[in-house]
């Protein structure tokens, strides 16, 4: 614990000295997790094609070039956890947990279920509710699975859906430009790059009766 704290401090000092102001969805946001399998790049939550469902998308390991994507894997010791607060107290009432199983090359889903403890430490809750073989890079079509409950799951590399002229923004922050470039000249810094995606589509009936949810995604590493 002490070692961890010291390490954290060292990282923070390095970051303070070398780190500029970065701006992306959550890509490359912190020294401890950058380029690690637990580095979250983005969270999306939206209605499914069937509007009775909500889709939860967590993207990790951003800015992957096509050649780097082929060898990327999910980490067996990392849980990607969607946290859902349905009474607006900003504490998770339900979790959807996704953990990679190397032996079966599958992404295994637990929940949505009430967690046995809230906060920064978790264990896998209950029995698996869905699982899917990870779609490999170069596969023509995504492998998806649908459980009897209606939960759908996908895991594998996808085009990064995030778009932003990060390069120009950095120039503005650095004081070498006064504004963004006009359309046609501006450039999506994330064009041509991939992420490792986990997508879970859930019937709203499994998420309680609240009209509004607060959602956030966490990565948690085995201790």
């Amino acid at each position: 614990m002490k070692t961890k704290k010291i390490l954290l401090g060292a990282f923070a000092i390095t970051a303070a000295v070398t780190g500029g102001l970065l701006f992306a969805a959550d890509h490359i946001d912190s020294p401890n997790v950058t380029n690690q399998p637990n580095d979250i790049t983005d969270l999306y939550v939206f209605r499914g094609e069937n509007t009775a469902n909500l889709v939860f998308v967590a993207n990790t390991q951003g800015l992957l070039s096509p050649s780097a994507t082929a060898t990327k894997k999910f980490d067996e010791n990392t849980v990607i956890e969607f946290n859902i607060d349905n009474n607006n107290d900003k504490v998770e009432d339900l979790v959807i947990q996704c953990k990679y199983d190397a032996a079966s090359n599958s992404m295994v889903v637990y929940g949505p279920t009430v967690p046995s403890e809230t906060g920064t430490r978790s264990k896998l809750e209950g029995a698996a509710t869905a699982s899917v073989i990870v779609t490999s890079y170069g596969s023509a079509s995504p492998i998806t699975a649908t459980a009897a409950s209606g939960i759908k799951v996908f895991a594998g590399p996808r085009d990064d859906p995030f778009f932003f002229d990060l390069t120009q923004y950095k120039k503005i922050i650095a004081g070498t430009a006064t504004g963004f470039l006009p359309a046609g000249v501006s450039h999506d810094t994330f064009a041509g790059t991939n992420v490792m995606t986990v997508a879970v589509e859930v019937p709203k009936s499994l998420l309680g009766a609240a009209a509004t949810l607060n959602v956030w995604v966490e990565t948690k590493k085995k201790i």
């Binding site: 954290l8 970051a15 020294p31 085009d159 778009f163 064009a191 509004t212």
Partner: protein, 174 residues
């Protein structure tokens, strides 16, 4: 004779495997495996824009109920540095920094889900939402949204690949 010895070897093998798996079971059966938080996000770009480099890692492991009290002042300071007074939603600095510093994504279960589409505000985040322009407009656009026009849109309005209408919706990788 040969068959018997193969059988015998197989039995021994099976026995030793059984023994190994027994040992393994007894070692792991009582220990619950826990996972400790490393990274988190709710809305796009909150940690990356408003939290300084030295505090990013600690923000990433701070639960949402404690984010405003621990990091709210950093959000306020950044808004001050940006010359912020009011946004197009009529939120003054205190209200806006309060909203931003608790980093959760609001999601409606009853209406269209979008970060902002001109009508619905913060009811989710769809793949094609131009979240950066929404945030730039709210941060730099002033009370009418017309201030600092050179800073309120990056002029990148869509993704470089089309999304699909069916699960999993995201495009195939490059």
């Amino acid at each position: 004779m040969k068959a018997i010895s193969i059988k015998y070897t197989a039995l021994i093998l099976a026995g030793s495997l059984f023994f190994i798996s027994c040992k393994k079971d007894s070692a792991t059966v009582s220990a619950t495996v826990y996972y400790q938080q490393q990274d988190q996000m709710g809305r796009p770009a909150i940690n990356t824009v408003f939290i300084d480099a030295a505090a990013k890692d600690s923000f990433n492991v701070t639960i949402p109920t404690q984010q405003a009290s621990k990091f709210g002042y950093k959000v306020t300071n950044t808004l001050t540095a940006f010359g912020y007074t009011m946004n197009a939603l009529g939120q003054d600095k205190a209200v806006f920094s309060g909203l931003l510093s608790t980093d959760v994504l609001n999601v409606s279960t009853t209406t269209k889900t979008t970060f902002f589409d001109g009508t619905n505000v913060l009811t989710g985040r769809a793949l094609n939402d131009d979240v950066i322009d929404v945030e730039l407009l709210l941060i730099f656009g002033g009370s009418t949204g017309a201030s600092n026009p050179q800073l309120t849109s990056d002029n990148v309005g869509s993704n470089d690949k089309a999304f699909n209408t069916s699960f999993p919706y995201l495009a195939t990788p490059w």
